[in-house]
């Protein structure tokens, strides 16, 4: 917020003095006057006061050192990329001994009576001094205890000549020998005007004299190294010299890991691997170095060739020789095996001779000139397969069998076909290279296809079944912050867990549930095959092929006998009721109410939101019907209708049971995974995994068997039904066709395996319906027909 946005800040302000600000500066120093002055000034500045800039005075650092340019001369070439560097100071600073004024004086006097090669250069002097120091530091680390025991020159000389593998100069020499470079130098070494002579030579020549100088200096320092070093912790002393401010960079001691045989073995193994890796790396680098050397040689050779050609050209121009410039241009380079090189060379030599002869003829007068030029040219011609240039040519030539063959046409022998010959890029057939990625992708696609095939197959198998596992319950809330006034209605909110929270849910009927479904990818593998269930009635919606729940899940169907009546007794009220309830979405049709029951038990009640009128009418109709059947069926069932036997009553009970029960039987003995009391989440995962497994097939078979038995039962019931229908038709000819259609469609739905029969049934029914002049029923029957076809 800006200050000007809050005009009333100062008036309303009740600024509290917050606790003292920790500066992080030491207490003693916090009070220093300069710091305080600056801090006060900044404080004042931000509180609106005008202050001068104050700063903390520091000692002078502005002077420049004029002599510096003497020491920092050479320019530096910057790399394009960010610099990467791992060499140490020691790697980059040459000999680790730097002579001082005393040494300089000594060396000057020492060299004064000598000339040229007998003089000891500064670099050589330093090498000698360095080696004396190195040997003594290594062999006599405690020389300072008794300086008189210092090694004599002979001993030192002997030891100095022992190769020290850690010494960079030794490494340089070794590498130089391996690569055939006499004066090995890395980028990190500075360019010395005169290369120092080898150590042995130096020791012989100057050793003893410089040794005396060195010994004097060393003894002056009481056996310490000639130049002072940083003071480190003295490991020989028991007590730590904490109080000496000059001792610095102590080692941090840490507890060593306990030594075990295993750790030892592991360590050895690691070292072994490391050693191997280093050897390989070294080998590689050496080879790289050798290659680069070869390249360098090649470049040099090419440069030489070029210069020679220039010379020839000049000569030619000078002498007015007008021959073809063929040998001034690089011929197409070819890889030839040794044999072919020889052949080609012979051919070339022959051609050369030929040419030479003709040239000599034509240029008879200038014979001596051309001889000279020929001699020069001779240099350009490869001398033989073993000559350096020929080797290089062969190395760098990228070649093709075809052209090689073309060339060898001159020679009689046909070229041997080599299996490993490289084709020129133009000759390589346009094979499409398969990359690892495409292979992997193909594999993945295959897997995907297998899965989707399985899913399709499964869908076919599940025809007529509702898969609840595929249809997760997706509650949709419009969550928006609410005011207090909305909280009053919380008890009417549909979801109990939410009801106790601070979120409001809009009237469920106003929520556009289609959003949920259309956006839910889970459903939309193949949208028209999606099965949706009305949460309230357990009715299948949208997908008209599956108009009814299979009996397996049907609440009413739990009692098999009930169904029989159910199919028969549907009235128009029921029809319209279902018609009304056939929603496009699984709308929430009930409210939830939380209430505290006896003994503090928490209950959740459900209450329908939809109007009860039609259902009521349906129930009443059923009651009526019951009365009618009662009255008609005088002969067989003459006993009084018990309230509990009345079907209308049963429906009512069922309905009220809905208020407190869950939709589905809580425990489904058929699903094997349930037996293990696995929680639904893992079960989902397991189910997914099961899809592709044999176990699922097995289960499916069991289920099918169950289905078949159930269908048997239905068939039996249908027979019974038909019998009854005849009775009914006799008794009441008019109204029941519609139920019939419904019941038959139900049966056709119930048994997917039995569709032929189901369709037959449907056909029968539709015939019947057509017979009767009920237009509504007719339209219904057409849909039934369609369904039947689809099933077939």
């Amino acid at each position: 917020m800006k200050q000007k946005d809050i005009p009333d800040l100062d008036t309303e302000e009740q600024q509290r003095e917050l606790q003292h600000i920790e500066t992080g500066v030491e207490k003693g120093e916090e009070e220093e006057k300069d710091l305080q002055a600056v801090m006060l000034a900044t404080n004042a500045k931000f509180r609106g006061a005008k202050v001068q800039d104050v700063s903390i005075p520091t000692p002078d650092a502005s002077k420049t050192w004029i002599d510096a340019s003497k020491y920092y001369g050479s320019k530096y070439h910057y790399p394009e990329d960010y610099l990467k560097f791992s060499s140490t100071v020691e790697d980059t600073s040459g000999c680790q001994y730097n002579m001082d004024e005393v040494d300089n004086e000594f060396l000057d006097t020492y060299n004064s009576d000598k000339i040229d090669r007998d003089r000891c250069t500064e670099d050589e002097f330093e090498i000698l001094m360095y080696n004396f120091e190195r040997v003594v530091d290594k062999k006599q680390p405690y020389l300072s205890m008794d300086p008189s025991q210092i090694l004599g020159f002979a001993e030192i000389k002997q030891m100095a000549l022992v190769q020290d593998e850690e010494d960079p100069t030794f490494m340089h020499r070794q590498l130089g020998n391996q690569l055939g470079i006499p004066n090995f130098r890395t980028l990190l070494d500075s360019e010395l005007p005169v290369a120092p002579r080898p150590l042995r030579q130096l020791l012989d020549k100057f050793g003893s004299d410089i040794y005396d100088h060195w010994k004097k200096r060393r003894l002056n320092r009481k056996g310490e190294s000639v130049f002072a070093q940083l003071k480190f912790e003295d490991p020989s002393q028991q007590q730590r010299d904490d109080n000496d401010p000059y001792v610095c960079f102590r080692r941090r001691e840490y507890r060593h890991a306990r030594k075990t045989r295993r750790a030892d073995v592991q360590g050895v193994e690691k070292l072994r691997l490391l050693d191997r890796d280093f050897r390989t790396a070294r080998q590689l680098l050496l080879m790289v170095a050798q290659r680069e050397l070869k390249k360098q040689a090649e470049m040099r050779a090419e440069w030489g060739v070029f210069k020679q050609r220039c010379a020839i050209k000049d000569l030619k121009r000078e002498l007015g020789i007008k021959t073809e410039d063929k040998d001034l241009i690089d011929q197409k380079k070819r890889r030839l095996n040794a044999f072919r090189v020889q052949r080609a060379k012979e051919a070339a030599a022959a051609a050369e001779k030929e040419r030479l002869r003709s040239k000599q003829k034509s240029d008879g007068k200038k014979g001596h000139h051309s001889k000279r030029s020929f001699a020069q040219r001779r240099l350009n011609v490869p001398e033989g397969p073993n000559s350096l240039t020929a080797q290089l040519r062969r190395q760098q030539q990228k070649q093709l069998l075809a052209q090689g063959a073309g060339l060898v046409q001159e020679s009689a022998s046909p070229p041997p076909v080599q299996p490993y010959v490289k084709l020129p890029s133009a000759k390589i057939p346009d094979l499409e290279m398969t990359t690892v990625n495409t292979v992997l992708k193909d594999k993945l696609d295959g897997i995907k296809k297998a899965v989707s095939d399985r899913i399709i197959k499964r869908k076919l198998q599940d025809e007529g079944w509702v898969n609840f596992t595929d249809d997760p319950y997706n509650p949709f809330f419009d969550i928006s912050p609410n005011g207090e006034e909305l909280l009053r209605e919380r008890s009417h909110l549909p979801f109990s867990s939410i009801a106790s929270s601070l979120y409001t849910i809009e009237d469920s009927r106003q929520i556009d549930f289609s959003y949920v479904f259309s956006n839910s990818k889970h459903y939309s593998n193949n949208d028209n095959e999606v099965i949706k269930v009305n949460a309230a009635t357990g009715q299948v919606v949208r997908n008209d092929r599956h108009n009814f729940m299979p009996a397996f899940y049907d609440l009413a169907g739990e009692d098999g006998d009930d169904l029989e009546e159910y199919g028969l007794n549907k009235g128009s009220a029921e029809e319209s009721f279902y018609e009304k309830n056939r929603l496009n979405v699984s709308e929430v049709l009930f409210k939830l109410r939380k209430r505290r029951g006896r003994s503090g038990c928490l209950w959740i009640d459900r209450k329908r939101i939809t109007d009860e009128d039609e259902y009521q009418a349906y129930l009443e109709e059923m009651d009526m019907e019951e009365n009618i059947t009662d009255s008609v069926d005088t002969g067989e069932k003459r006993k009084r209708v018990n309230a509990y036997d009345a079907r209308g009553g049963a429906k009512r009970r069922l309905r009220s049971r809905f208020m407190f029960d869950s939709d589905l039987p809580p425990f489904n003995p058929i699903d094997p995974s349930r037996l293990n009391q696995i929680d639904p989440q893992t079960q989902e995962i397991r189910f997914g995994a099961m899809l592709l497994s044999k176990a699922y097939d097995g289960m499916h078979q069991i289920r099918q068997k169950q289905m078949e038995t159930y269908q048997q039962r239905i068939l039996y019931q249908q027979k019974l039904l038909q019998q009854r229908r005849h009775q009914h038709q006799q008794l009441q000819q008019q109204p029941k066709a519609v139920e019939l259609a419904n019941s038959s469609s139900l049966s056709s739905r119930a048994g997917s395996r039995n569709y032929s029969q189901g369709s037959e049934n449907a056909q029968n029914v539709s015939n019947h319906v057509n017979g009767s002049n009920n237009s509504f029923a007719a339209s219904k029957s057409t849909t039934v027909n369609q369904i039947a076809k689809e099933i077939v």
């Binding site: 650092a61 004024e101 002072a228 070093q229």
Partner: protein, 425 residues
């Protein structure tokens, strides 16, 4: 004159209380090394005897145990009633000294042990936390041991003691190579070294480069010599830096400027490879010859850029020096104000700011408080960009200082194994 006593010294015409720390003989004349009370040690200097005003009161050295208390008392009293106070304090002191003596007689050993303990405790802390700070210093280390240092083409006066080899202090002059930071007291040696040395940049990987500066990352364990040289050099200008332990547990981020000769070190900060206290900087220094050019702020910015890349919040290790505090405050202020004004943030919490800037919430709060931006308004605390702050921002914005470009930072937070983080060897 005993070291430890306090006298009034004529400094530029003003008399200031100063503590005599030591003396030496220069050209047959004894000169005294004095520390001006309530001024930073970098202003300590050698003075001749005639600068000392013997007409004003002098204070004899105090016993070490009471130092703390005395210090506070001293800051309160001033010139006019010094005499009276002196008498009282001296009287006081003798009495107290007696007491102390008694105490000491009784439990001498224990007290000494206690003192030792605290010291070892501190060392232990140094070892385990990898801290580069050490507060308790030896008397010798309170005195500057070099008078002049040549670095590159600069001639710099050192500020504090640094444990270069004691033999080098004889001349009081040090030649330091601009690239390898190697030190010499002999000019000839320096010359010889310069002829041989080919190093032209800090010996590590460049992690940042723009037209103005480059940053290098250097592992203390891999570049021991160079990092030791760097630490020795920086100790000349950092009072609270300790070189007690080795450089292994630190990474050094060195800021350099390029010219035709190479990358010249401008400043650096060290950072623990593994900080238990979520410090993102251990020591930070702009070399004095480059100070007051905004390099410190770049260093600080870089340290926070690294923290951002690590996804951590961080703060510099304490104690800060006076200059360090001011630099950090300036950076914090600038960052916060820029963030608040430029991004027009209206609804932002301290935590969110911390996420955006990698600054710790404490640092943010403290900065806001010093800026007087934290107000209490309608029952809650708000961050209020005051008019002074916005005007300061405008002024700052006009200056067009160089800023680092985070896209040019090519860096992955280095990962170390447990074995690599054990620093004994």
């Amino acid at each position: 004159m005993i070291s430890g006593c306090q006298v009034y010294v004529n400094k530029n015409g003003k008399y200031q209380l100063a503590e005599v720390l030591g003396n030496q003989v220069q050209k047959d004349e004894t000169v005294y090394y004095v520390h001006y009370v309530l001024y930073n040690k970098r202003l300590d200097e050698l003075i001749s005897l005639d600068k000392i005003d013997f007409h004003r009161p002098m204070y004899p050295p105090k016993p070490a145990e009471r130092k703390e208390k005395r210090h506070k008392k001293k800051s309160k009293k001033r010139n006019n009633d010094v005499k009276k106070n002196t008498r009282s304090t001296t009287a006081d002191k003798s009495l107290k000294e007696d007491e102390v003596d008694l105490d000491n007689l009784n439990v001498q050993g224990i007290i000494k042990d206690g003192e030792k303990m605290s010291r070892t405790d501190e060392l232990e802390k140094l070892r385990t936390s990898g801290s580069m700070m050490q507060s308790d210093v030896h008397a010798l280390a309170r005195m500057r041991n070099f008078n002049k240092v040549y670095i590159g083409n600069h001639e710099v006066e050192p500020w504090y003691f640094s444990p270069y080899p004691v033999e080098y202090t004889e001349d009081g002059v040090l030649y330091i190579d601009d690239f390898s930071l190697k030190y010499f007291s002999s000019k000839k040696q320096f010359e010889r070294f310069r002829m041989k040395c080919t190093l032209r940049h800090p010996p590590g990987n460049e992690v940042y480069r723009d037209s103005y500066v480059s940053f290098f990352e250097i592992d203390g364990k891999k570049q021991r010599t160079w990092c030791r040289n760097l630490c020795l050099l920086s100790k000349l200008f950092l009072d609270h830096k300790t070189l007690y332990y080795d450089v292994d547990p630190f990474l050094f981020y060195c800021m350099t400027r390029r010219d035709e000769y190479g990358y010249h070190l401008v400043g650096y900060f060290s950072k623990e490879k593994e900080s238990t206290d979520s410090y993102n900087v251990a020591c930070i220094l702009t070399l004095p010859q480059y100070q007051r050019h905004g390099f410190g702020k770049l260093l600080i910015q870089f340290s926070y850029e690294l923290s951002k890349k690590e996804g951590k919040v961080g703060s510099p290790e304490k104690p800060l020096s006076d200059l360090g505090l001011l630099s950090y405050r300036a950076y914090w202020t600038e960052t916060l104000v820029t963030l608040l004004i430029e991004n027009k943030l209206t609804d932002v919490s301290i935590d969110e700011i911390s996420q955006m800037t990698s600054m710790t919430t404490t640092d943010i709060l403290h900065t806001l408080q010093t800026l007087n931006m934290l107000k209490y308004y309608k029952g809650q605390h708000i961050i209020c960009v005051s008019d002074q702050v916005s005007s300061a921002y405008d002024k700052l914005h006009k200056k067009k200082k160089h800023k680092l470009d985070s896209t040019k930072l090519i860096w992955k937070p280095p990962v170390f194994t447990a074995a690599q983080l054990r620093f004994g060897w």
